[in-house]
């Protein structure tokens, strides 16, 4: 359905801009649908949690997975509405390098913090106790099982899912209610030219791939001498590899729109996607084993190769020179 929608939008939209990327087509065909799915799935998750909040509820777990999928599929679009008021971080506090999520959850549970009964108050609790990664602890980590206080545990699950739904709706509303036009109709304070809008999208695409290679895969890999499989993203719910596949799929869609359906770019994504799907290592446990590790490293390298290919083949056609300093980030 999503691909069909993209195709129709492209056919109806304005001709390609001077720089080769049709920004409105990307907003309407890639960004808005992605955030709409997130808003819908997050609302469903909150509604389910309102009636079924126990970690052993199959409906709750199914909705958790669907909504989390929807987030990962837009997690490369880190600019504009998602970055206002730290919304994206409130949805996704990962990587959690200092173990802040379990600490923040333990504090809320220990104090029986009444913030769980008031969405405004909950929006002010530690950002580490909010979002999908905190929810995953509550639903999958035995250390945070409902135990002898199922009522508060339930209230916390409901507070987090309600918060996720509010944030997801707010991001979608902002995209639909103005930011989509700001991006599509360059010539404003945020995007002075269509090239600047294309650059933002290209940066998001490249950073999204970098995050997948460096964090989603790099964190569990650690080093050869010290592999860190326990650092795999969302390993408690068995979603680590699935996040790599979801993110590659979403960035492939954006790349196609930005590269005028370049066959070479699509092929590079397909190679990495096929390798990921064949990996058969859902939580990168193989990071600790020389052979398994090698296979994960090859996948990581293929994702880095995609970035390189995009920088060389797509960047210049969008008016994005490979700036030695401008892309350095130091």
């Amino acid at each position: 359905m999503r691909h069909l929608l993209s195709a129709i939008v492209i056919a109806l939209s304005s001709p390609a801009g001077a720089d080769g990327a049709d920004i409105r087509a990307i907003v309407v065909g890639h960004i808005l649908p992605g955030y709409q799915i997130l808003a819908t799935e997050a609302a469903d998750l909150a509604a389910t949690a309102a009636s079924e909040c126990a970690p052993n509820s199959p409906d709750l777990i199914a909705d958790f997975n669907t909504a989390f999928d929807a987030w990962v599929s837009v997690s490369h679009l880190r600019f504009g509405p998602s970055e206002q008021q730290d919304r994206a971080f409130a949805l996704a506090f990962w990587p959690d390098t200092r173990g802040s999520i379990p600490k923040a959850l333990a504090t809320l549970l220990g104090d029986q913090d009444p913030a769980v009964s008031d969405p405004d108050a909950f929006a002010e609790v530690s950002i580490a106790a909010r979002g999908f990664y905190a929810l995953e602890f509550l639903l999958f980590d035995p250390q945070f099982a409902p135990g002898d206080n199922p009522e508060y545990h339930c209230a916390l699950v409901q507070a987090i899912t309600g918060d996720i739904a509010l944030i997801s709706a707010a991001i979608h509303d902002d995209w639909r209610g103005g930011y989509g036009d700001v991006m599509s109709d360059a010539g404003n304070d945020t995007y002075r030219t269509p090239t600047e809008a294309a650059q933002q999208l290209f940066t998001a695409l490249s950073t999204g791939l970098e995050f997948t290679a460096n964090a989603r895969i790099g964190r569990p890999l650690g080093t050869f001498d010290r592999p860190r499989p326990n650092r795999a993203e969302a390993r408690r719910s068995g979603r680590s590899l699935s996040h790599v596949i979801l993110s590659l799929t979403a960035t492939k869609d954006l790349s196609a729109l930005m590269s005028a359906d370049s066959a070479a770019v699509a092929e590079a994504f397909d190679t990495a996607l096929q390798r990921a799907e064949a990996l058969d290592d859902p939580i990168f446990a193989g990071a600790a084993d020389p052979q398994g590790r090698l296979r994960i490293e090859v996948l990581q390298q293929e994702i880095n190769d995609i970035r390189q290919l995009l920088a060389e083949s797509v960047g210049p056609s969008l008016g994005i020179a490979a700036g030695f300093n401008s892309l350095d980030g130091d």
């Binding site: 971080f89 390098t97 970098e210 460096n214 790099g218 964190r219 700036g323 030695f324 300093n325 401008s326």
Partner: protein, 351 residues
């Protein structure tokens, strides 16, 4: 010439005779790292008229350098998360020593000497602890590492000697990274940059944090006037729709912080790459390679704005500001440009 050079190098190794001073070598006026056309990385000396005085290869991409206060010697640092720094004889570009970051540390790319040049201080990442440290090196003993002290924050980037000759100012950018995850920023939602002042023993003398609205403004680069005003240049980690100043001046004597509104997220595309201040502190120059802009301020007032693609390096001279670009230009204060087949890296270091 080669004979004389090796003779001098031999004397250096023996430590028997005093080494060349800046006055004796005459040139270069600046140092800059760069990338050669074949994609390899180099460190170059640049003269005041924009000519390359020496070019030597680096094992990987460089970043900034620190000039010895007396001897014609400089230390060129690897780009983070690099672990090497190279000591050079600036008359010839010959390497005289190498610093290696100890196990569990990497360099951030900047360093500063004590006034007598006996000590070198380097910004480093204690990455498993997620803590910034300042490495202390004994210059007179062949750059032997003496130890390290806390930087006062996370992600220390630039470091400068204060004019009192006894303290250092450090830009703790606030961003946690780990070599296992490359340059991926790990803590943006909780980052807390600061400006820290320490003495040579690592004692924290003063620390400045901007108010919470600026929490995602990573303080990266510094320039210090002779009077001790510290100019700091920032890189915004939030969304580009917010418009905050990226440049500030801290006067530790008066205890004031003045933010410069014209160097903002929107005018400079959220990112300042370098900063320089005239000796008397009256003029400030800052660059943004992302917006391709050089801004020059007289006090807080914007005096000029020059557009040049990928401009980043900037240094103060007696007659104005010298700048370099990633497209190979060396631009004199007069506006005169010399083009080189070297992509100049972030910083132009005056010597």
């Amino acid at each position: 010439m080669a004979n004389r050079r090796s003779f001098i190098a031999g004397m250096f190794a023996a430590g028997a005779l005093p080494r060349a001073t800046w006055a004796q070598v005459g040139s270069p006026a600046f140092l800059s790292a760069g990338m050669a056309p074949d994609g390899t990385f180099v460190l170059c000396g640049l003269s005041r008229d924009g000519q390359i005085t020496f070019q030597r290869s680096l094992p990987a991409r460089g970043h900034a350098a620190a000039a010895h206060p007396v001897r014609a010697e400089a230390v060129a640092f690897a780009r983070r998360p690099g672990t090497f720094a190279i000591v050079l004889d600036c008359a010839t570009g010959t390497q005289t020593a190498q610093l290696d970051a100890p196990y569990g540390r990497h360099f951030y790319g900047h360093g500063a000497f004590s006034p007598d040049g006996d000590l070198l201080f380097t910004t480093e990442n204690d990455f498993d602890a997620g803590r910034g440290v300042i490495g202390v090196w004994d210059v007179s003993d062949g750059y032997r590492r003496l130890g390290e002290v806390g930087s006062g924050g996370v992600g220390p980037h630039d470091i400068k000697l204060m004019p009192d000759g006894a303290s250092l100012v450090i830009a703790n950018g606030g961003i946690e990274t780990h070599p296992e995850t490359g340059r991926t920023k790990l803590n943006i939602p909780t980052m807390r940059p600061n400006l820290s002042y320490i003495d040579f023993d690592g004692q924290l003398l003063d620390q400045i944090e901007l108010d919470p609205a600026h929490r995602k403004n990573s303080i990266r680069h510094l320039a210090v006037s002779a009077q001790g005003s510290v100019v700091f240049a920032m890189q915004w980690q939030g969304d580009l729709t917010e418009d905050l100043p990226l440049l500030g001046v801290h006067n530790s004597t008066a205890g004031t912080v003045d933010l410069v509104g014209d160097a903002s997220v929107q005018t400079m595309n959220g990112y300042l790459g370098s900063v320089a201040v005239s000796r008397n502190g009256a003029q400030i120059a800052t660059t943004s390679p992302r917006s391709g802009t050089l801004q020059i301020f007289e006090g807080p007032t914007l005096r000029s704005e020059t557009r040049l693609r990928d401009i980043c390096g900037v240094a103060a001279t007696d007659t104005g500001f010298y700048a370099t670009t990633g497209t190979g230009l060396a631009v004199a204060p007069s506006g005169q440009r010399v083009a080189h087949p070297v992509a100049w890296d972030n910083h132009l270091v005056p010597i």
